[in-house]
Amino acid sequence: MSDVEIIGTPERTVSRRKFIMGVIAAGATTSSVGYLFKGPQPLLGALAVQGSVERLITLNVNGQQRRVDVLNQETLAFTLRYKLGLTGTKLGCDRAECGACTVLIDGVNSYSCSVLTHTVRGSEIVTIEGLEAPDGTLHPVQQAVLDEGGFQCAFCAPGFIMSMVAMVEANPNPTREEAAQALSGNLCRCADYDKILTSAMRAAELSRQQA
């Protein structure tokens, strides 16, 4: 043992009851997976001010209406990953600096780490899980990536793929430079950019064929 004085240990044993209380305090009993966030207890209820948001909302994700309990300060990335179990959306930096969390909000690629879930309540959200058809047919972009041997570690892949989807919608016939511009908000630390660009060009090609 070192001679560091530690106040608070040996800590009290946390009883099962305490745990449950903690969970309730965290306002997370309504969701089986949603205990990531603590709510603003002091303000809740006491301040039913006009214009303030309600916590239980309906979110349109991948074409489904999902009822979900969302805290005020919750980002879309957290709601997707921890409330809705859509862990395909990755958190690489949580600061709009890497693009791993990119999803489509009303068809536009956006960093889900940097938007409040409440802000996009009325929007259509599409994540990587929403691209594949119910019968397992891959989205042309996914197919293109598969054809071209895809990514390396692929932690950035869901974000890149969502940006490619936005790209082929906005510009189905891009040059390689334009594709690079369209994907410039996504970082790949494996720097597999050449293969990614080739995949993007193939994605545009497959999309054109499908259209």
Binding site: K38, G39, P40, Q41, L43, L47, V49, Q50, G51, S52, V53, L71, N72, Q73, E74, T75, D94, R95, A96, E97, G99, T102, I105, V108, N109, S110, Y111, C113, S114, V115, L116, H118, T119, S163, A166, Q181, A182, S184, G185, N186
Partner: protein
């Protein structure tokens, strides 16, 4: 500081549907209130837990703040218009391309898709001492760490400093100054309209704010007069990486050239000072002149006459001079 914060503290969230309601809420919460536009700056502060608003007023549902309108004497951009919308708007592309050039080079596509034109103008400085939560002047403390002789200040200011040497990070600001834009500010006592170049706070006046906006005020509209429509524009941004990075320096100019002579012009840079600066001295040098390498160089030299580099940002002097030269060259030497 190595305290890893990361999780956003709780706040009350409001989504009013009108600017007036938003202003009312902001007045009610005063310094504890926070305007949420695109959020590209806000989230950073919240996640770092350096700024902890009690109430956040999300403007997403305030329709009157969205959109681009052509008016009798120019064009109006709602504060909540995204940078992508600005960068791709046909009328802006056709007649005010200095602004679309600027907007299209901001950060990344995703940031432009959510980030707003007002947010780009209002965003806080990126001085890493300040953003790191150091108790500097701008944070209400009594020190500028960034101007110390030992400091790492490659990105910092060479002009217009006063205790604080942080730079304004806005890429769209110099373009709007070049276009002689006006900003409409709404508050509890109605509207006021200010010139773009007067919108940005000098640290000598208030070291803790980047703009003249007071708590309870909203920037609602950007008005671009038709004065400079279709003029000869130049915009250039120099940054380290071609995406994400804040500018080391940007230059924007609008010139009216007639018979090979610069009849009139407006020119601004950012990344040089704690606020975007209009280059009136350079404009004076250039007005009435035929664009040439020599006059461009002179305009550049004039602009950096009073510049005072810190230990690591001496390069900004030649950079600023050269960008001004290039703007003149862009007018067709």
């Amino acid at each position: 500081m190595a305290v890893i914060r990361d999780m956003i503290p709780a706040f009350e969230l409001f989504q009013p549907t009108s600017a007036d309601d938003a202003i009312e809420l902001l007045i009610r919460y005063g310094e504890d209130g926070w305007v949420l536009g695109g959020g590209m700056d806000s989230f950073d502060w919240w996640k770092e837990r350096i700024k902890r608003p009690t109430a956040v007023v999300d403007l997403v549902n305030v329709d009157e703040l969205h959109g681009i309108r052509t008016t009798a004497d120019g064009i109006e951009i709602g504060a909540m218009t995204t940078l992508t919308e600005v960068a791709t708007h046909p009328e802006l592309l056709a007649n005010y391309s200095v602004l679309t050039d600027a907007a299209s080079q901001i950060a990344t596509p995703q940031i432009r898709n959510r980030g707003t034109i007002a947010g780009n103008l209002i965003q806080d400085t990126r001085c890493w001492y300040y953003r790191g939560g150091w108790p500097c002047y701008r944070a209400g403390g009594n020190t500028c760490y960034a101007s110390a002789p030992t400091a790492m200040n490659r990105e910092h200011a060479i002009l217009g400093t006063s205790r604080c040497v942080a730079v304004s990070p806005s890429d769209s600001a110099p373009a709007l100054i070049a276009l002689d834009a006006q900003f409409v500010i709404k508050g509890s006592r109605g509207e006021r309209v200010v010139d773009a170049e007067d919108f940005f706070m000098r640290p000598s006046v208030d070291i803790e704010r980047m703009t003249i906006l007071k708590p309870g005020e909203l920037l609602t509209t950007i008005r671009i007069p038709s004065t400079w429509a279709g003029a000869t524009f130049y915009y250039e941004k120099i940054e380290d990486r071609k995406a994400w990075d804040f500018a080391l320096m940007t230059v924007a100019s609008a010139m009216r050239i007639n018979g090979g002579v610069i009849e009139d012009l407006r020119m601004a840079v950012n990344g040089a000072a704690p606020f975007p600066i209009r280059l009136e001295d350079s404009e004076r040098v250039l007005r009435g002149q035929t664009p040439s390498e020599e006059i461009g160089l002179r305009a550049g030299e004039v602009a950096i006459r009073d510049a005072q580099p810190l230990r690591h940002n001496d390069f900004k002097l030649p950079l600023m001079r050269n960008l001004i030269r290039r703007a003149v060259r862009g007018a067709g030497v």
